[in-house]
Symmetry: C2
Subunit: 242 residues, 2 copies
Amino acid sequence: MAPSDVLLRKLKRHCPIDDADAEAIRHLRYEVRELTEAGEDFIRQGDKPTAAAIVIEGIVARYHTLRSGARQYLTLHYPGDWPDAQGLFLAQMDHSICAMGPVVICSVSHEQLMKIFKARPIIGFAIWRETLVDAAIFRESITNNSSRRGAGRLAHFFCEQFLRAKVAGVAEADACPLPLSQTQLGEMLGMSLVSANRHLQTLRRTRIADLRAGRLSIRSWAKLVSLGEFDDGYLHQTVPNV
Amino acid sequence: MAPSDVLLRKLKRHCPIDDADAEAIRHLRYEVRELTEAGEDFIRQGDKPTAAAIVIEGIVARYHTLRSGARQYLTLHYPGDWPDAQGLFLAQMDHSICAMGPVVICSVSHEQLMKIFKARPIIGFAIWRETLVDAAIFRESITNNSSRRGAGRLAHFFCEQFLRAKVAGVAEADACPLPLSQTQLGEMLGMSLVSANRHLQTLRRTRIADLRAGRLSIRSWAKLVSLGEFDDGYLHQTVPNV
DNA sequence: CGGAATGTTGATATGCCTCAACTAAAGTGG
DNA sequence: CCACTTTAGTTGAGGCATATCAACATTCCG
């Protein structure tokens, strides 16, 4: 899919974009970039970005680097997502973003975006809303990592990733890409890789879900939702009137 | 301080607000509300707000309610903060907000705000930036609650609250209000109240910090920062050019 | 003065981390 | 194509941090 199509598809999920808005978006100049290496950073903590990136293909992750050098993964991002939209107003990156596999991203300069926001506020609102949904996802992660434990924490995470992959159009009926090693899964959920491994096996053994070779398979959605106490409200998939 | 002064003070921290912008803000109609009961909710999970609240005096908290009825506190908010700005674009609240003591809030209808955003984009940008800093704070909480443990987790939290209280103008040189019971401290940091109590005592014994009667006293800022591995970059206090 | 909420302490249990060894799979170079 | 290396996944054992339970102290408030 062409970058502007991915972009429009996503923005329309946030706000009603009319033909003139769509035209303006199609006329943006973006630079397309391919990353082939899994793990490659494309924005680093401390950077001062002058353009915003949109994921076109593949999956990227935001992460903090701790004093010790350890990582805390924060979220994954799917095609259509704007993983560094905050860079529009926050001068310096407080975290890094890396590719979780082969990825295509495109970037649009802040300059162009600021101009379009002034001329067509609705486009700014759509991207603002994107950042607000991100924030809701962060909040949910605080809760998941702080108050659920073991398999429930994994289950909640899997529910979210599966739904988001589905909305982004990269999931099948009962499976989706989830290119995380068990080490990374642990770094995402605040547990050791040994714990991640063991809870993963529990989900396998109970035929609830399976993660293998970068692919998440859902065996029983109902059980997964129940175990993770998952309620998708925070993903805010229903579009408001603006 | 008058509501519009608190509001302007905060917005100016985000973007350069000119006289005409300030005038427009002063002419907004807001409803002032006082809450006297600690613990009183003023927005509930599931609500569909039609106005946005600004904290004028006191401290409020956002929290999730789990299936079990337990709470996960997400963040505290200080005078000038917009704890439910997300309601502008996300139809339904995914969390609740309560007063942590006597509080004054004022609310401005979404209708008025949307109008002013279209006429004066810079005001929208300032509030957008507010929501982006919130998101950065959420990210940091994920990391703090997931990858630091014990006293370090407490220390990081205390550093953040002290700095934010200072910026909001409600802190003294080495102390600030922090109206949390130990139970709530635990619910904020993802630990039991017994653990919260014991780590608190460690900080007391080592003369690093003390929390008593809703008041946080900093005994050694240097040690607190070091113990919590605190770096204030994520609070994004430096103002960008727009 | 009594009752409720909050804070403190001890004892016990358990979940998770760490260490360490080993297996399996994937990628590399001769 | 096969040995070799590297990375990822699996398993067991031991110890520690934190949760839980329970009793008690303290403060606050009516």
